[in-house]
Amino acid sequence: MNIIEIQDLKRIYRAKIGVLRRKVKEVLALDGINFSVSQGELFGLLGPNGAGKTTTVKILTTLLTPTAGRASVLGFDVVRDETKIRPHIGFIFGGERGLYWRLSGYDNLVYFANLYNISPDVQKKRIPELFKLVGLEGRENEKVQGYSRGMKQRLHIARVLLHDPQVLFLDEPTMGLDPVGARELRQAIKNLQLEKKTILLTTHYMFEADAMCERIAVIDHGKIVALDTPTGLKNYVQDLSIVEIEVFGIPHDAVERIQNLDGVDMVSVENRDQKQALRIHSSDGAGAVAPVVSTLQNMGLRVGNVIVREPTLEDAYVRLVGGEV
């Protein structure tokens, strides 16, 4: 059974610009996307900034109406039946906002528990359990303004689980967390999946999507450019090898030159402190290394480590969205 259904979903944002001659600027955030999520599935939505991930989540959580198309959650239409959907879903938008900083963590949960009509008896049992689950036991009575970013994020998780929702929408939940905190949060999300909760997760972190999601939709410029399992997505680049070359101070024309070499499918550049990493998608495997290194050296560039490896989900993603990460 499909818990989430999206058909030809479109969303246009309109903003007025200018002072005297006001003009309406339109931005197409979603351009007719389609996908569905089945019960108990952990579904990932990947895409660069501004691709339409958060817009999709906001429409599904009934906070935004689509311009065209249809979306339903648990069989209810997100525009007409919003009051039927809300008691059964939970959502988190990444970041520290969305909590009352002048209240304690405990008071925050009491507040939201009442918004979800949870009786005081259930609250007394459930809230301490949730503090324990998210690792904030003993910090309940401290004001949220004194919490670290990771603690706030964990309080968000506790908040979203208060009413035991069937469907969870997690929009970049690990954003800004330290590695240990992010790992704990990922484990908590996996545990929720074991409880047969349907989860829609958006993230920038490829390894996170790879490790957690059963299926992933890659969204770019408001369109779904690929939808498959992580293994299926990696197959998009199965014919390629990835050559990573460290270079110091690469000029723009070097990228163009390498792009034109035989056996080079795509080139992207990633800044790593003082150096850059050239990531080359090559159908020629290790054979592409010699001409690329030679080209770089002929341009007088200093070349560092060179690695040839199998493609990852990130490589598939980079190919799909054309170099944007």
């Binding site: 906001k58 009934t62 906070l63 809300r86 002048r102 507040y111 009442n114």
Partner: protein, 261 residues
């Protein structure tokens, strides 16, 4: 259903009071500003015929109550948006109006602090003997004042949230109510064309009821008329507020204004 809604109102009321009780802006609006108004009014009016200290004190307290109602309710929904909580509230099974009702109740309660502080401070400073002519009727009037301002607060909140740019007009609404509401002097002193405006403002009837019951009444029927009109206008405001909230929520979902972009 009703019980859970009341529980939400109480929770919002209590939690909101916890957050704002020590806010410097609130202390100024509720305590210091009305006191300054009271001092000015007493200095200006104390040698005039028919001067009644209790009238000035009640009036200056009303200025604090109105300023509090106006300012706090104008930011009621905006503050939720700024803190990122508006989406959490809208996305919950509780309707926004219930949450705002709890906040409006807290705002009015805090604003009533003006009454509590104005009386003893003015009495101490000017050595006036402040007596309330009809204490029981005064307390009923005070409770109806809460109703009047809370319902007006529920109209103010969505108006200032429909278009965030409206916020800049807040100050323009503060002083006219002092005058049209008859807080410090009777509206009979104003041009006749302003009287109908005063009549559709519940704070005017609240001010009349409070003035009459504190200064002394000739006819009980005058107070009963004020009470009746407070109730009638408050119900009208609640009806208007209900419509405004529906418009606000529909537009916010269409225009994507629930969260900060």
């Amino acid at each position: 259903m009703m019980l859970s809604r009341l529980r939400v109102v109480w929770t919002v009321f209590y939690m909101y009071l916890k957050q704002i009780a020590i806010d410097g802006f609130i202390i100024f609006t509720v305590i210091i500003q009305p006191l300054l108004v009271a001092l000015l009014a007493i200095y200006l009016l104390r040698d005039s015929d028919g001067f009644q200290a209790i009238y000035v004190i009640v009036g200056s307290a009303l200025t604090g109550i109105w300023s509090g109602t106006l300012f706090f309710n104008s930011f009621n929904i905006q503050s939720e948006r700024w803190s990122g909580n508006l989406e959490n509230i809208i996305g919950s099974p509780t309707d926004l109006q219930t949450v705002v009702l709890g906040k409006a109740l807290a705002n009015t309660t805090i604003s009533l602090g003006s009454v509590l502080f104005s009386y003893p401070i003015a009495a101490l400073l000017f050595r006036f003997r402040l007596t309330i002519a009809h204490p029981f009727l005064f307390i009923v009037s005070l409770l109806l004042t809460i109703l009047a301002l809370m319902s007006l607060g529920l109209v103010i909140a969505p108006i200032f949230s429909l278009n965030p740019g409206n916020i800049m007009w807040i100050n323009a609404f503060e002083f006219p109510m002092y005058i049209l509401g008859g807080f410090l002097f009777p509206v009979l002193m104003l041009p006749a064309w302003t009287t109908p405006i005063s009549y559709i403002l519940s704070p005017y009837w609240a001010a009349r009821a409070l003035h009459d019951t504190s200064s002394g009444i000739t006819f009980l029927s005058d107070v009963l008329i004020s009470w009746g009109l407070i109730i009638f206008l408050s119900l009208t405001y609640l009806f208007i507020s209900n419509w405004l909230f529906r418009v606000l929520l529909r537009r916010a979902r269409e225009k994507a204004t629930l969260g900060l972009q």
